[in-house]
């Protein structure tokens, strides 16, 4: 006995004393790491053993993760607009609110002299600078270098100080003197490539046509004095060309003195440290007064009120949606919708993961039992399975990265964004991804870890754990949730598409087939002076049935509105505001707009140009009269102060689609706003007509690129938001159903395998394969039914809410819900029945023998 004891204690020195020592936290972490390294092998081996289920798990997760990544990029892009400028908290745009001409207007821009006044008289700022869009041809500056001729949409006259307010890094040239002289231009890198194709651009020349509204357009050579980085996706102020302000001054010498000039001038200030925006705004008040006076003197249209306010730079994208906004404002609604959609996919994917892990846990139960007898504590095992789940999540992340760029391209096209793959490198994005990774890995791993680590070695090793779905309430709940989400998504998708079909199918009140649209972007004054002659030239082309010129064509925002005052003088008190389309005599017949009262414009009447308005029915209502009684009434417009008589009322037509009621409109023959020509084509001779039209274009607009569009295509864009959402929902619900289907399929396949013996016994006892299949499917039927009951009311509420945004909408009926439910149900049943039949048909003897 003695001998034995000695022996034993001698052999046991090391490890025993090791283990009994109390451990610090750091050491514990170290052991967990070691353990993880050890269990990595087992993770991978057991994954390989259950390849199918592993692939389903990873696919579901990866899809969810990839969607989330895209949405994270999108959300970060949307919410970090203009935060990359140093000290962006001190940078503001000066906007104003004014009351005049019978309306209240808010503008993102202000008058030219303000910047100089701030710099010289107010102080308080580090820098002030203006960005002024080229005047008449704001978005279509014709730029040429030899044969390379393009319309530039993002060209600006810029004060040189803009470089010390906004972060616009120079690649060549320098910010200090690049825009000092007239006729100099700084271009973006991609613009440089476009015109110079690899040649160093500095010192070379671009020919730029500008329309200063002081006569004919001017074409001059500009010297390239700088190349800057392309504007990132997350700035409201995107630029391809910055023209020196000195150039503009040579043509508009009063730019820095004239307080009454109304072309938009976006003014940015960078306040000194510790200057409060509210205090600064107060200092601007005297200048508001100057503008009011200048307007009173000049146009005779008194401005009743004018208040400046400061818009923080970083808030512009989400927080500012003014009529003269540089870029359409972001919509927080889409941030929510996209985030929600990604969350749903992530939920379905993670549910799969949890579900399949829990299902597979039965195969791991023996391992758990053994590990516990070997001294593993429950904590050790929880860590092991959490570690495994993190490893699988990591694999899913890598897989997600693999198809991220594809998905991103798809998303960009769908959502109309320009998000770059490289944006992943931002610290904020990386941090969010890390959080997502941990959250997903832990939350998806926690339930399986808890289930698995709870196994008692005694019962496991005695084979008392029964596999399969019995009693796993949590697992059923997960499947229920998964299918509820799937049904919800399908209902939403169906409703969105049905609503789209509905509004697209509704009569718009005008004819949009076979219309060729030519936009006059250059030489507008020539066009306005000679439009009758130009039109008749185009009419000579073969197959052109009708031609008309106007300020707006369907699918575009209206150019503006008229404040109309009854009678022959204009005052602001009782004026009514209507949107305006300025047209020619042929507009109404060209578009096939129906008249409900009075007559259309007629050349024969001789004086329609000077004396006639036409309104639509909504317009008549706005003026407070019925279509019959509005005829013959006289109105004066704030715009040109002409008094004209309403000679006709048209039926309502929907130039902006069927989302909203028809706008109150007035049609007026007024040259100064004309900018588009509409040509009616003969469908059989389109290419012939196009060739001739191009020839005519060349004659009238030599050197101007011939660009055209077809109305029905362009008009389709009015529903682009709804279509984007429909497509997105379609994608998400398709993906969701696919993941849910695969998950269910995998889980059932596995359950069947585990229940082979039971099924074998039932078969031996005389059950038919059908009855066995039924037995196996029954529980899933009730689950999917329950999911339907949960999802349908929620989907109903969500879709009703969404439909509120439409003036004309469908009533989502029983059929939509029934269809969504049945479709999902059929897919789920397919997953179950496929498996059930297969395993029911197996030869029972094989199953029993294999035990």
């Amino acid at each position: 006995m003695n001998r034995k004891t000695e022996n034993r204690s001698a052999g046991r020195t090391g490890p025993r004393s090791q283990g009994s020592r109390p451990e610090s936290l750091g050491r514990r972490g170290y052991w967990k790491l070691l353990m993880l390294k050890n269990t990595l092998g087992i993770t991978l081996r057991s994954l390989i053993k259950n390849k199918g289920i592993f692939l389903i798990k990873v696919f579901g997760l990866a899809a969810g993760i990839a969607c989330s990544m895209v949405v994270i990029l999108y959300v970060v892009n949307e919410l970090t607009y203009d935060t990359y400028h140093p000290d962006h908290e001190r940078i503001f745009r000066i906007a104003c609110r004014r009351v005049h001409d019978g309306g209240e207007f808010t503008n993102a821009s202000t008058q030219g002299p303000l910047a100089a006044a701030i710099k010289e008289q107010i102080g308080q700022t580090e820098t002030v600078a203006r960005m002024i869009p080229p005047l008449e041809n704001a978005k279509h500056v014709l730029v040429a270098r030899g044969e390379r001729r393009f319309f530039e949409k993002r060209a600006w006259f810029a004060d040189p100080d803009i470089f010390s307010i906004l972060s616009i890094p120079f690649v060549a040239g320098n910010a200090g003197n690049a825009l000092a002289r007239p006729r100099t231009v700084v271009i973006s890198e991609s613009t440089a490539r476009k015109y110079f194709a690899g040649l160093p651009p500095l010192g070379r020349r671009l020919t730029i046509e500008l329309d200063y509204d002081t006569g004919a357009a001017v074409t001059e050579d500009f010297e390239v004095t700088g190349v800057v980085r392309d504007a990132p996706a997350n700035t409201h102020l995107k630029y391809d060309m910055l023209l020196s302000m000195a150039t503009l001054l040579t043509y508009v010498p009063t730019l820095n003195q004239d307080w009454g000039e109304y072309h938009p001038k976006y003014t940015y200030v960078k306040l000194r440290r510790h200057v409060k925006p509210s205090a600064f705004t107060k200092l601007l008040r005297p200048y508001a007064e100057r503008i009011r006076q200048a307007f009173a003197r000049r146009a005779g249209s008194p401005m009743h009120k004018l208040d400046f306010f400061l818009q923080p730079l970083a808030s512009l994208h989400m927080g500012s949606n003014l009529p003269d906004e540089i870029e359409p404002a972001g919509n927080i609604l889409y941030v929510y919708i996209y985030s929600f959609a990604a969350l749903l996919i992530l939920l379905i994917g993670a549910t799969n993961f949890v579900n399949l892990s829990a299902t597979l846990s039965t195969t791991r139960s023996r391992e758990v039992g053994i590990r516990k007898t070997l001294g593993g504590s429950r904590g050790d095992l929880v860590w092991q399975f959490l570690g495994e789940s993190l490893v699988i999540t990591l694999i899913a992340f890598l897989a997600a990265f693999a198809f991220l760029s594809l998905l991103l391209r798809f998303f960009n096209r769908m959502a109309g964004t320009a998000i770059d793959f490289q944006a992943l490198g931002q610290p904020l994005v990386l941090a969010m991804l890390l959080v997502l990774f941990l959250l997903l890995g832990i939350s998806a791993g926690l339930y399986p870890a808890m289930v698995l680590s709870r196994f008692q070695p005694v019962s496991v090793l005695k084979n008392q754990v029964f596999p399969g779905m019995h009693g796993h309430a949590a697992q059923r709940l997960l499947i229920l949730g998964q299918f509820a989400i799937a049904i919800f998504l399908v209902v939403c998708t169906l409703v969105v598409f049905r609503q789209l079909t509905f509004i697209k199918g509704k009569a718009l009140g005008f004819d949009r087939e076979q219309k060729l649209i030519l936009e006059i972007k250059s030489n507008q004054s020539y066009f306005r002076r000679n439009y009758e002659a130009i039109k008749s030239d185009f009419l000579k082309a073969p197959g052109i049935g009708a031609a008309s010129v106007s300020s707006t064509v369907p699918g575009e925002a209206f150019a503006g509105g008229y404040s109309l005052q009854k009678g022959s003088s204009f005052g602001i008190l009782n004026s009514k505001r209507l949107k305006v389309i300025t047209v020619d005599h042929d507009f109404i017949p060209t578009y096939g707009i129906r008249m409900t009262a009075g007559r259309a414009f007629q050349k024969a009447s001789g004086n329609d140009e000077q004396g006639a308005y036409i309104v639509n029915e909504a317009g008549a209502r706005e003026l407070g009269l019925t279509p019959e009684r509005v005829l013959g009434t006289q109105w004066t417009s704030h715009y040109h102060r002409k008094t004209k008589t309403i000679v006709g009322v048209t039926a309502d037509f929907h130039f902006l689609g069927m989302k909203d009621e028809a706008e109150p409109l007035v049609l007026d023959i007024e040259k100064s706003l004309l900018r588009v020509m509409t040509l009616s084509l003969d469908a059989r001779r389109v290419s012939q007509s196009l060739a001739a039209v191009k020839e005519t274009w060349r004659r009238h607009f030599p050197g101007v690129p011939f660009e055209y569009s077809f109305l029905d295509e362009a008009f389709g864009r009015v529903y682009q938001y709804e279509e984007r959402m429909g497509n997105l929902l379609g994608l998400v619900s398709g993906l969701g159903i696919a993941i849910a289907f695969l998950g269910l399929y995998g889980m059932i396949a596995f359950t069947m395998r585990m229940r082979r013996k039971e099924i074998g016994i039932r078969r031996v006892l005389g059950a038919t394969s059908t009855s066995v299949a039924l037995l196996l499917t029954r529980q899933f039927v009730s689950l999917v039914f329950l999911a339907g009951f949960l999802a349908v009311p929620l989907a109903w509420m969500a879709t009703i809410l969404w439909l509120q945004g439409f003036a004309y909408r469908i009533q989502p009926g029983f059929a939509v819900f029934a269809f969504a439910f049945l479709a999902t149900f059929a897919i789920a049943m397919a997953a179950v029945l496929l498996q059930a039949l297969r395993s029911a048909r197996d030869n029972p003897v094989d199953a029993l023998r294999s035990e």
Partner: protein
């Protein structure tokens, strides 16, 4: 080393208590080789699991090396078990997805043995049980006897004071079984306490003492022996093969 007093185990549902163990008193000295025998369902394995701290008794006291196991929380109990007890099972219970080497290493990981020490312990065990050549194989690539050899090596590697064996030779043919029993004998001689559950008289003959369980009741070695089974009837049996 082990002292059980009034250990009782039952499974209760609404109406019936099914007793597995009834009022077991048992003392095991350090260095003893004890055999528990009895027919199927007698409660042998349950007793073994309670001894191994994998299962808890419903009533009664369990002292292990002076510590009141029935009063410890799960964590303490796991620690005690981890440091002192090795298990050997009838169906080996190796982890299928791990190699022989990794299987041996696992208990050391739970015991938090340092890497270099762990490596040398595993190497020693591989050497001692002459399975070095098999170290990279998976369990299903081994014969039953080899698997059980690995299982014993795994039980021994933490240098436990107590080895619990649940029908260790039940799935083996007789030469393999003999080999394992010889191994146990050797370990016992080196000082390890061994408690085994077995149906086999031959295996029981290797032990110092045999107790019998029937329907959860325990008969002490002296009283228990069925005629002809245990002629020695003593606590210390002689070490020679017994015939029936």
């Amino acid at each position: 080393m082990i002292r059980l007093r009034g250990i009782t185990k039952y499974y209760a549902n609404a109406f019936v208590k099914t007793f597995v163990l009834r009022n077991i008193d048992l003392d095991v000295k350090e260095g003893e080789f004890l055999t528990i025998m009895g027919p199927s369902g007698a409660g042998k394995s349950t007793l073994l699991y309670i001894l191994g701290m994998l299962d808890e008794a419903c009533e009664g006291e369990y002292f292990f090396c002076g510590q009141a196991v029935h009063e410890l929380n799960e964590k303490k109990r796991t620690q005690l078990h981890q440091q002192n007890i090795g298990f050997v099972f009838q169906s080996y219970h190796l982890i299928d997805e791990l190699t022989v080497y990794e299987n041996l290493e696992t208990p050391l990981l739970y015991k938090k043995v340092k890497p270099d020490e762990r490596k040398s312990l595993v190497a020693d065990a591989l050497d001692r049980f002459r399975i070095v050549a098999k170290k990279d194989l998976f369990p299903n690539q081994l014969s039953g006897g080899q698997q059980q050899l690995v299982a014993v090596a795994r039980a021994v590697i933490i240098q436990p004071r107590l080895i619990l064996a649940d029908e260790p030779t039940g799935n083996l043919n007789s030469p393999q079984g003999e080999e394992i029993m010889a191994l146990f004998k050797k370990l016992n001689c080196e000082g390890t306490t061994i408690i085994q559950v077995t149906h086999s008289e031959k295996n029981a003959s290797h032990s110092d003492r045999v107790i019998h369980l029937l329907d959860g009741w325990m008969n002490n070695g002296e009283k228990s022996a069925l005629p002809g089974e245990n002629p020695g009837t003593g606590k210390r049996k002689k070490k020679h093969p017994e015939g029936t």
